[in-house]
Amino acid sequence: MASLPKRIIKETEKLVSDPVPGITAEPHDDNLRYFQVTIEGPEQSPYEDGVFKLELFLPDDYPMEAPKVRFLTKIYHPNIDRLGRICLDVLKTNWSPALQIRTVLLSIQALLASPNPNDPLANDVAEDWIKNEEGAKAKAREWTKLYAKKKPE
């Protein structure tokens, strides 16, 4: 196995020693490029009080290539599809090697706070969101309760 680039080592250390509030990211023991991530739903969003599990993978060309991130927890959101794939510019065309794991996860948290139904990934959810925003948000809250319940500590 090729040695892990210094950048990934340093980023991982920082994520553990100085975690982002509301976000955790831990590398797998047998693959240090693969992270288990949790993101808390932002306050005053339909995802409040939910804890969402994600997986994050750093491809060989990271940081020249964006990390691959996917929701594992079911979520009702116009920019996240049934498979958990995320439509977010910094994960695709607007990726920059100056961004980091932590900035990407913060962007995802911000996406939960402000969904963008005009650039959808899940078309049905986006349509719902545009036609009946309150109803869609209610459904998102319901799904959050159903699938992203915080486990009692």
Partner: protein, 486 residues
């Protein structure tokens, strides 16, 4: 086809027969195209319309493999040689230094990602318009003493360690690297396509191995020089004499003073997080530092179709149906502030000018950097863009365009033949109005002002269809007549 890659004499013979060694892709396509026309015209007389198009595809591929087969081999051999030459330029050489850095990267990024123009980069570095490739430190500790720092720098290799056993090349035979040919390694029982694929794979595996060996050779001579220089230094010290007895060999190795000057005041690159000697390259737009190794990784997007805002109610368009002329490739953005047309500037260090274009690094004595911050008399720093170091980006884009043009021409031919077989078949394009496929095609191809290969191809197909429709009609008529007569 007696033309086997590696049998150089045969290839040369072939080369002589070619009108022009800088045979452009388009003229090759023309030639191929002529052949297609003849093959189509030939078949038209004998077979019916549908057969014509279906078999036309076959004849075409056969014809093109006949004419371009040998010439393609030739160019692929040329490409292989160019790749080898490129890989050789990526070897870090200890006698090619500029201000304490090198002309080739240390190896933070994988070998196949080093696709920049090595000549351009080497020129820029020797002209002090771009920071050299320094050997990075994984970490730096302020508390290190001079001796500790020098010891650490002494232990630095020329190049990062290689991954000797890449998964990709597992089980790929490489044969004897000294021999230029390796056809005996290719399983002749495989199909032609498979053989070609195997050939390419073996080539890559061999090149990877060769690259490691070239660098290891260089590493060895680097170590030998280091040892010799140290022994000389010890001798000089023990005899207490100055440099008078020292032979005038140029070891190209840095003095302790140079090592200390380099690494004492370095900083971390914000992209690879490695510690490098100053001065860095700075982004022109936002004045952020970037090491040369990261800079050469930043490039234009690969050719792609524009990302338009997709209307969720629209059906997604297949890339195959898009106009290849729409393919674009935007210049790289600044990684820090996303300003378009990323470019950097570089001011060479004032307290050292060693290696190529400077004094030998083995006689460098420590100098305090002059602290004149105002650059009144300084020539303006030259600006290097990501395109400067990859001048071939436009060729690449055009190549990809013509590849798509060819592909969509093939697709169109198949598409039309399918429609002819099933007259009820309607594509998304012609729902709503019923016209002959011929008419529809003409509307869809009249987009670009200049006829592309695609359009000429379409015209040919249309003509072929029209002729064979006529043929069929005539046949039917004559049949009907013969039936009606008695």
């Amino acid at each position: 086809m007696g033309n086997v890659p590696g049998k150089i004499d045969q290839e040369d013979g072939y080369n002589d027969s070619r009108p022009n060694s800088s045979h452009s892709a388009s003229s090759l396509a023309d030639k191929q195209y002529d052949d297609e026309i003849t093959s189509r015209v030939r078949t038209r007389h004998t077979t019916s319309l549908v057969n014509n198009i279906l078999s036309g595809n076959n004849t075409r591929s056969r014809a093109s493999s006949n004419i371009s087969g040998s010439s393609r081999r030739k160019t692929s051999r040329e490409k292989e040689l160019a790749k080898e030459a490129h890989a050789k330029q990526l070897v870090v050489r200890c006698n090619e230094t500029v201000d304490g850095g090198f002309l080739a990267p240390f190896g933070c990024y994988s070998f196949e990602k080093l696709d920049y123009d090595t000549t351009v980069i080497k020129n820029l570095i020797t002209k002090r318009k771009l920071a050299p490739f320094y050997t990075p430190l994984q970490d730096f500790d302020e508390s290190w003493t001079r001796d500790e720092l020098i010891k650490i720098v002494d232990g630095l290799p020329l190049h990062d360690t290689f991954d000797e056993k890449l998964e990709e090349f597992e089980d790929v035979p490489i044969g004897n690297l000294r021999k230029p040919t390796y056809n005996d390694l290719i399983d002749k029982s495989l199909s032609k396509k498979e053989q070609r694929r195997m050939h390419a794979k073996i080539f890559r595996a061999r090149l990877y191995k060769k690259r490691i060996l070239w660098q290891e050779n260089e590493n060895e001579s680097f170590l030998e020089k280091k040892l010799e220089m140290r022994q000389l230094g010890n001798k000089a010290n023990s005899f207490g004499d100055d440099n008078s007895n020292r032979p005038k060999t140029n070891y190209h190795l840095p003095t302790d003073d140079l090592k200390y000057t380099l690494y004492k005041n370095g900083s971390e690159c914000p992209i690879c997080f490695l510690y490098f000697p100053e001065p860095f390259n700075y982004s022109k737009c936002c004045q952020q530092p970037i090491c040369t190794e990261c800079f050469v990784q930043i490039k234009r997007a690969d050719p792609h179709f524009p990302h338009d805002d997709v209307d969720p109610t629209d059906p997604p368009t297949n890339d195959n149906e898009k106009d290849p002329n729409l393919l674009t490739s935007e210049p790289a953005n600044c990684p820090y502030c996303a300003t378009a047309d990323f470019s950097i500037t570089y001011q060479p260090p004032k307290n050292r000018k060693t290696g190529l274009g400077g004094i030998s690094p083995d006689i460098y004595v420590y100098k305090v950097a002059t602290t004149e911050k105002t650059n009144a008399n300084q020539p303006p720093a030259s600006v290097i863009t990501s395109d400067t170091i990859r001048p071939s980006w436009e060729t690449k884009l055009n190549k990809e365009r013509s590849r798509l043009v060819r592909r969509s021409a093939n697709a169109t031919a198949i598409h039309i033949s399918n429609r002819l077989i099933d007259p009820n078949h309607s594509s998304r394009r012609n729902t709503g109005h019923s016209g002959t496929p011929i008419q529809e095609e003409s509307t869809s191809t009249s987009r670009s002002p200049e006829p592309t290969i695609n359009e000429i191809e379409d015209q040919m197909v249309r003509e072929a269809i029209r002729l064979s429709l006529e043929d069929q009609d005539n046949q039917k008529k004559s049949k009907n007549k013969t039936i009606l007569r008695p």
